[in-house]
């Protein structure tokens, strides 16, 4: 699974992208896949599926829906956004400052086909949930065995 930044522009999948993907795959196979794989790109993502959907979740505390931009392009989920500083920045003295602000962009190669026009996203308690429905032809189908 590629954990690379999304590059806008006509570059497409370059040799460098492919190399990164291969290195990512190698790392995933080495870490066993069970342990979270640490990428440096914010935000960290979890991907899961059921019969009808893929689900992508991310922890985005303090990010407002209007400062998020989510799209699906050619089998990739793209998440861009900004985490703004808290309003009280004037006339204060910081004892501790651990929370970061800034912009972020993240892409994730989806493992299968999705219906891009039916993708929905929700923010709840600082957690982003992107629901990506699988197209009809990609859903598992029960095939009745007939006797002749």
């Amino acid at each position: 699974m590629a954990t690379i930044r999304w590059q806008s522009g006509p570059r497409g999948a370059s040799d460098l992208d492919r190399l990164r993907e291969e290195v990512d795959q190698l790392f995933n196979s080495l870490t066993g896949g069970d342990e979270p794989f640490f990428s440096r790109v914010y935000p960290a993502l979890n991907l899961s599926e059921d019969a009808d959907h893929y689900y992508v979740r991310a922890e985005l505390p303090g990010v407002k829906p209007e400062s998020l931009d989510i799209s699906v392009v050619e089998g990739r989920l793209l998440i861009r956004g900004e985490r703004k500083e808290s309003p009280e920045q004037r006339e204060v003295y910081y004892h501790r400052r651990e929370r970061e602000s800034g912009f972020f962009r993240r892409s994730l190669n989806l493992p299968g086909k999705v219906a891009p026009d039916k993708v929905s996203a929700h923010l709840k308690n600082g957690v982003l949930i992107v629901v990506l429905p699988k197209p009809e032809e990609a859903k598992p189908r029960k095939i009745a065995v007939q006797t002749t």
Binding site: N46, S48, P61, R83, V92, F104, N125, V127
Partner: protein, 134 residues
Amino acid sequence: MKDQEMELKEKKEIKKVAGEGTRPGPVYIPAVDILENANELIVLADMPGVDSKNVDIDLKDNQLTITGRIDRMESDKEVPLYSEFKWGDFYRRFTLSDVIDQSKITAHMENGVLRLILPKVEKIKPQKIKVVGE
């Protein structure tokens, strides 16, 4: 500051929390900002996934303890395919000075960020002191 690209920081896990061993799963230290102005201390803590009803703030002997519990995110039907982070509860403890008026502390959650307002005791607020000549 505004054009800064955010970098992912690994979540800091606490291995043992005193008296909190009743729930399975990891416990993380929330990132906090602690700010002070003339009237109050403000604590901002990132606790994604924590609903306001699952925040517990405890103050005892000047020890401020913040606990946030998360609800389960995935449904039973979901199968994980790829994971970069784990879900977990949050826990952090601070020692407060005597300047806080403990009866007036307020807290609320918004977008997964806890905002704690700790008002200072009246007499500690900076006052202009008149110098009286003889």
